[in-house]
Amino acid sequence: MEKPGEKKPAYSGFGEEWRPSNLTPAEAQRATDWVEAKIDKRSMLTKKDRVEDTRDAMWQLEKEGEIVVHRLDERHEPVVARTLYGWEKKIPTTNLWHHKSCGQCGNIPGYPSSVMWLMNELDVRYLDETDQTSCTAWNYHGSGIGNVVSLAAVFLRNFHQAYMSAKSQGLDVGTYYPLVHCGTSFGNYKEMRIFLMHSAELRAEVKKILGKLGRLVDGKLLIPEEIVHYSEWLHVMRDRIRERQTIDVSGIRATVHPACHVYKMVPEDVIYDETVLDGNRVAVSTGLLQTLGANVVDYSTWYDCCGFGFRHIIGEREFTRSYAIDRKIKVAVEEAKADVMIGHDTGCITTLDKNQWIGKAVDKVYALPIMADCQFAALALGAHPYKLAQLHWHASPFEGLLEKLGIDWQKAKAEFETYLEEVKAGRIETLYDPKRAITSGPGYVKPKTPAQVGAGE
């Protein structure tokens, strides 16, 4: 009950100009029923009694001696978050193994560099190494080449490497915990874990392959206790990130594009938070933006996909660009008057960013900056927009946004161009020691034993 004279904060999902509707309880219930029947997380709540927590099956299989679980423990300093049904999910905050995204690293490099830079700023330990493949799910969803056995085998191979990787530094196995950068890898791996827990036949097939690769632990499949997306790490770290903020972002109207493979695949494992849009939308990214002080503005097509289509972005771009412009960009600009659209997945950022230029051909010029939540957070903490956030790879016009943030992009651009001369001369700045990236095979140097160090070898 609102006390006289007390100003109730606006429901931030609709921007600061929103006013309360003053509905009666009966009217509010009717409106809620409508929403429930239409779109939001509550429509998924109806399945709650029928959805099982796959982790229960996982613990049972471990008890029966069939699998080994890579546990989150004190080394990872986990923080507990709540998912769709109120279940607990442990999110590791340090000792993280970067499961990189091919689309991000190939096309939006400021995405992973911002994540790693934020980790450096927050004194978070991590390993970024070369012994990792793509999840191969983009290829599968796009082409149909691949199958559940290959996807599950790739999943467990990469996660086994994450588990073993610390040995290359003379540390205990399990020290590093995988942090998945790509939304499709995240959704795919969660699906694969469910399929593996359900099917003894699948486990047997995958076990045979991983045995051949030497990728079993005590002769068993290694299954991760949690599958964690980097946006979940940002979410639980958001207050610590806020402490280091140097740039005021309160003048920015931000729209969020939640990624389908992050929150529609295995929805029971997705974080919802009562403090973020009253718990009605997936909490990641929006929670971070609100904590940083941005004005998160809702828009009617928030639920729509971006138009990536996996296959379509390569071979049928008429669909991709039409969908991106008409259903997302146009709505964010005209309806929400957005200054920026923030995403948390590879394909979405690429699609929404790259497909604006062609709008000129049909007089649909909306010019909406597109970037990932981690890039926006890095900028808010004072990261260099070119050297670190690598915004020059973005096709959408980010310069106006930087001006609104009080960042002199022309000066920053000139600094970066000067830095490129240093790069040409071989003087390259990196976020970590490059030698750490090689953990086996050609180029790997074994860590010295204490005896060797003592002997000065």
Binding site: S134, I145, S150, R311, G441
Partner: protein
């Protein structure tokens, strides 16, 4: 045999109903459907259907294509073999794989997941539709199968993506310089999104071999399969040489 299957058997073919020429033999239709319903995930993705259409109402592809996830589910649920085969010629390739349908279906069906099963089967049967649709995807297939990365910086060119605008980067500098200016050492690459360990590529190739993925590739694009095989033979030799060197060094110690 269901009523639908019996009706199909009686007619014997799909396609032009006034033509006496069989287009697709009944045995072929049944073989295709048998592969779909025996897929390890089929029962996980299909539980029933009341034709409510909530999947189609939220489907992005339904906005732009003659495609409906409700129709796909209904065809499978009613075992409409002709309709299934017909949908595999074009419609299944319209799906954007967002899984909005799966998140919303009251029956917990996954129309998007069923589409993937049908795509796998279309490839297994070497359907021309699969070959046509996957032709523009061949660069990605070559990349992912031979390196373990699906995308590389040198694949993003003005020629390949003319509709993305005139500038791959807003800073005019050679790609190799721009890549080295990324502060992440594993990303100072051009041919792969990050530097992939040789051992890692070889391990992934072993997975492709063991899971029938290379057979799929050979079915849809024999030339690409030959190229990939050659590339990977070289990589395996290279890795074996490195292993042999390690062994020799070990013996010398």
């Amino acid at each position: 045999m269901s009523a639908t299957t019996a009706a199909t058997a009686e007619r014997g073919t799909i396609g032009d109903p006034v033509s006496a020429t069989p287009v697709v033999p009944q045995a072929k239709l049944e073989a295709v459907f048998d592969d779909i319903r025996s897929h390890i995930l089929y029962d996980h993705e299909l539980h029933g259907c009341l034709n409510c259409g909530i999947c189609t109402a939220t489907c992005p592809s339904a906005h732009y294509y003659d495609y409906s996830p409700r129709e796909i589910v209904q065809l499978l649920w009613t075992e409409n073999l002709e309709g299934i085969y017909d949908a595999m010629q074009e419609k299944i390739w319209s799906c954007a794989q967002c899984y909005t349908c799966a998140a919303r279906c009251p029956f917990e069906n996954s129309p998007g997941g069923l589409v993937m099963i049908m795509r796998e089967v279309a490839i297994k049967h070497g359907m021309q539709s699969a070959k046509d649709v996957l032709r523009p995807f061949s660069r990605v297939l070559l990349k992912v199968i031979s390196t373990g990365n699906q995308l590389a910086p040198n694949m993003i060119t003005r020629e390949a993506f003319p509709d993305w605008g005139p500038n791959v980067s807003k800073i005019d500098a050679p790609l190799n310089v721009l890549r080295k200016a990324i502060p992440v050492p594993t990303m100072h690459t051009m041919d792969t999104a990050w530097e992939v360990n040789l051992k890692t590529s070889v391990e992934l190739y072993t997975i492709w071999e063991a899971t029938g993925v290379l057979d799929q590739l050979e079915t849809v694009d024999e030339n690409l399969f030959d190229v990939v095989s050659d590339v990977m033979d070289e990589k395996r030799d290279e890795y074996q040489e490195w292993l042999d060197e390690q062994e020799e060094e070990g013996d010398a110690d």
